[in-house]
Each structure stands twice: as C-alpha cells, then as structure tokens.
Amino acid sequence: MNRLYLFLISIFLSSSTLAYEVTENLQIHGFFTQSGISTTDNNMYEDSKHSISGDLREAGLNLFYTPLNNLSFSFQGLYRKAGRVDNDTVDVDYAFMDINLKNYASGRYGLRLGRIKNPIGLYNETRDVAFTTPSIILPQGIYFDRSRSFLRSSDGGQLYWEHLTDNGNFNVKVLYGVARNDNDELLKAIIPYGSSKCSLPEPRGELKSSGSKPSFLTQISYEVNGGEYIYALSFADAELTYNPKGNESFQKGSTQFDMYVLSAQYNGEKITLTGEYKYQENNFKDFGVLYPDVSPVSGSWYIQAAYRLKYNWQVYGRYDETFSDKNDRNGSNTKLLGNPAHMAYAKSTMLGVRWDINTSMMLRAEYHNIDGTSWLTSADNPDRSQTERYWDLFALQFSVRF
C-alpha cells in the first residue's frame, strides 16, 4: 500500500487538469481506480464471498514526449492490486519509441520499438484504464484476467499504418515480439490443477517468455464515420515454454495459442452496441505422461448494449459465454480429472450503470449473475472443490484521471 501512496502523491502533485502540458513537447496523464467487489459464492479479487473486497485497485502515470515532428517516446508505469494475483505490483506497462516514417494527405505509417501494448479486440490495449473500458469486470472470455499478464504487452517492434478515406479509416498494426508472463495464474489455467482431489499434481515450475519463440500479433480495423461503426479482426500467435522446478512430474513442455477475435461496434448518440467473438486454438505438448499432448479449441462471445440517458449517465447490459474446450462444453473432461465440471465454462448476464461525475471522475456499479467458474483465479480460490457453479457478483468502482 505504501508504494501506491507514493505513486498517487507523485501523480496528484503534478496537476489536476486533463492533458497536462509540462512543456510544448511533453504531456503527462494519470489515473487511479478503486473497486469494491462482493460475491454470493467464490472469491473474486481476494475475499469477496459474503463480504466486500477492496482489493482491485489500479493506478497509472504516463508520459508522451515528442522531440521531433516524426519521433515520439511513450512510457507508462502501472500499479496494480488484483486479489492475490497482482499483489501491489508496480511495473512498466509500455515504453516505446515511435518513428513516423511517412505522413501523407490521407494517412501515415511508421514503426514502434520497445514494450508495446498488444492489439487484441476493442479494449486490450487499455484494459487497465477504467475510463476506456465498457464495464468494471471485462468480458472474461476475451479479456481473461487469468492470462492478463501474458496478453497485455510485448517487447519487440510494431509496424502501423493508418489510411483515411471519405467513407472510413483503415488501421493496421503488425507486432512481433516476446510475450511477457509474470505469474503462474495462466499455468494453472493450462494444467487444470483444481485441488488436492485432482488427479494431476500441482505444477511447481514456471511459464517463461524467455527462451520462447516471439509472438506475432496483428489487428486490422475499419472505422466508419469517425467510429460510428467499428469492425476489427485481431490475430495472435503466441508461445510460452514451461520450465519445471526440481524433480517434479511435469517435463519441459510448451504451450502455443492461435487466437482470432472478431469485433463489431455501433456508437450512436445514445446507444452503443458491441459484439465480440473469440476462437482460440491451443496446443499444449511435451509436458510428459501425466499430461498428454492436447489441443483444445476454446471459444467465447458476448453482446453488450449501452444506453446514454444523458451525456454523462449510462446504463448497460451484457450477456457472455466462454468455454475452455468447445468439444466439452459441460466440462465432463474436467470432471474426469477430479475438478468441478463448472471450471470449464462461464455464462453470465450483467447489468450496470455509469455516471461521469465530471470529465475527470467516474463512478459505476454492476450486477453479474454467473453460471460457471472459469473466470476464477486459483490464487483466490486455491481449492476448486469449494467453489459453487452458480454465483452472483456486485461491483462498485470509482475512477479519477487527469
């Protein structure tokens, strides 16, 4: 917590207006978000069951510096507390240089080098910034919190191209770099160790990006009429190597993902409609006899509708579904391993309301009704046999930015 306070003090000493200009060429922005989570069963972001957990907290501070017209430097430091997964971590969210190779009347292209946010779906690049997301709890099938550390950014290079036409704008991003992973939540999603009742032993090694093949991510989007209609196709081919620890039962295996996300959004004056669909091929191999090679296909989709009662008041609702194996939607294979079947899927309905108090403060509240537990982290629910299939979640969030 002390680190957070230091971080916050440094943010708020600087300014309280939006778009703070330090000099002609330097802009500084920041945000702070605090959420409260309560659940009827299961723990989401630490001890939320029959209680209120305040352990979902994020803060960021970023710099944008343009010494030359065609050169800029971007940096964002991020603090995060998310239950027992991210425990007061402070790290570099992104840090890259942007070389704008060409500007022409109807577009531009260039190259970014460094740590770059991964362009997946409509929200991944700013998934930790409450003001930019459509809900407190993001649709987990696509913006899966358990694999967040792996999906949020890569170290490498990105080519970008933006082209304007009278009808709409094309936007292409091609990223090649090393995926990052800094916790074992993803590992326990891959090797489904649920509890001591599970026939698999608990994996003790690490999924490491070092030594893994670099990932390839690309996104093509088309925006009509300044973003009234948005269409996007994202693709990611990523890999992580498993490094066993000591003489454990699992061997040096590898995990590889091919992810496709289709996104569409309508942004009207009062109504916003969003739909996203994910199809993901997973290849887990060489983990040894205990966990034979498997290639499950996971999938997810959601539709969300938001209605602006006033320009600063919004009500929204969503239905979403996610399956870790499309050929085993009711989780019978998971059950064979000694885990609860409902660990393999989640179907949920959500209703929420958002109030933008002013341009730099926002408050929102949500109710989720969930069937399935695939959202849950092992860190907050170490014994899956104690989890319940049907559960409700209430969330309240306050966010401030400059």
């Binding site: 939006l18 778009a19 200009e21 802009q27 922005h29 945000f31 009827t40 970023n62 944008f64 343009t66 017209n69 065609n70 971007s74 940096f75 964002q76 992104y94 942007d98 500007n103 009347a105 109807s106 531009r108 946010k117 690049e125 700013t126 910034v129 930019t132 970008y160 304007l164 036409t165 009278d166 704008n169 009429n225 300044g226 973003g227 009234e228 942004n267 004056e269 009062k270 109504i271 509708a305 209605y307 602006r308 009662l309 006033k310 320009y311 600063n312 009500v315 609702g317 239905y319 179907k347 949920s348 309905t349 209703l351 002013n358 341009t359 009704n369 069937d371 049907y390 559960w391 409700d392």
Partner: protein
C-alpha cells in the same frame, strides 16, 4: 435480494428486458435530456438552433497552409490521428472541455460526430502511448488567445470576423 441462480433462462429474460427497455428509454429521452444545455437552449428557442450551429466555425493560426481540406482530414485532425500539416509543421489542437455545450454543438454540427466518440479515440491514444489528447481551454476567449499565438494551431470559435493572427479554415 438475490436472484435465484440455477434457473439458467432467467438471465436471458433479464437481458431481454433490458434490450426491450432501450426503445422505451429512447422514446422518453427527449424529456430525460432536457437538462442538457444544448437541448435546453433548443427548447427555449427552437428557431435559434440553426442559427447557433452556423455560429461555430473552425479557425486556424495564420501560419497554417491555406488550401482546401476534406472533412475526413479535419475529423482526423480533431481525432489527433493526423498530426502534421502539408508543409511539415506540427498540428496543435485546442478544444473546450467535453461537457461544454459549445464543444458538443461543434462536434455534432461541424464534424457529424459525438463528443463521446472523440473521447474514446483520445483516451485510447493517451493510455496506450500511441498519441496524445488535444489541449483543453476553458473558454472562447482563451481559445482565441491560444490560436493567435501558437503556430500550426487549430480550434473552433463563434463565427465572426476576428482581428488577429487567425483565419477561418477552408474545408468541405
């Protein structure tokens, strides 16, 4: 009150109800939004609406290359996606705050976009490191000051003749 889980179809019913609610809300939205400053000024004087819209125009610092720009280019400039003028100088964008009625009137009447669309674009640029947000000014007076003094700058003002280092932008 806890909505009984276990009855899977109940959630679909909830969602359906919500979706059905949208047209109802749209229908009654005239009264709900009447406290918006744009709408209230409309209801006070309906005939003044067109006049008000014509009252806002895009102005640039005199240093900006004098040529005709397309609406797509002007939108891209305010969206902070086009950042350099044809002569290679940097574009500097000034806007009023999101909740200022002049800003909402400007984006709707001149660029045919809504303030929330711009906010989405600016926030994505700002918080992914891909770009920056425009510079906010508090009033037309400040806008005029900044436009007059900053080379390569663009913004919007009440349409009238100004004495100073600015001119109306030629676009269609």
């Amino acid at each position: 009150m806890r909505i009984t889980a276990g009855k899977y179809f109940q959630r679909q019913i909830l969602l359906l109800l919500f979706l059905l609610l949208i047209p109802v809300l749209s229908y009654s939205s005239d009264s709900l939004t009447s406290s918006d400053s744009i709408d209230s000024s409309d209801s006070i004087n309906k005939s003044a609406e067109k006049h008000n819209i014509d009252d806002i125009d895009i102005y640039v610092n005199s240093s900006v290359p004098d040529q005709q720009y397309s609406l797509a280019e002007v939108r891209a400039i305010f969206a902070m996606r086009k950042i350099i003028w044809p002569d290679g100088t940097k574009i500097k964008v000034f806007v009023l705050p999101d909740d200022a009625s002049e800003h909402r009137l400007f984006t709707k009447s001149r660029l045919h976009m809504f303030p929330h669309q711009f906010r989405r674009i600016w926030d994505r640029l700002t918080f992914s490191g891909a770009g920056q947000a425009p510079i906010e000014v508090e009033s037309y007076e400040e806008m005029f000051e900044r436009l007059s003094n900053a080379p390569g700058s663009i913004g919007y003002l009440k349409a009238q003749r100004y004495h100073g280092n600015i001119r109306k932008l030629n676009y269609e």
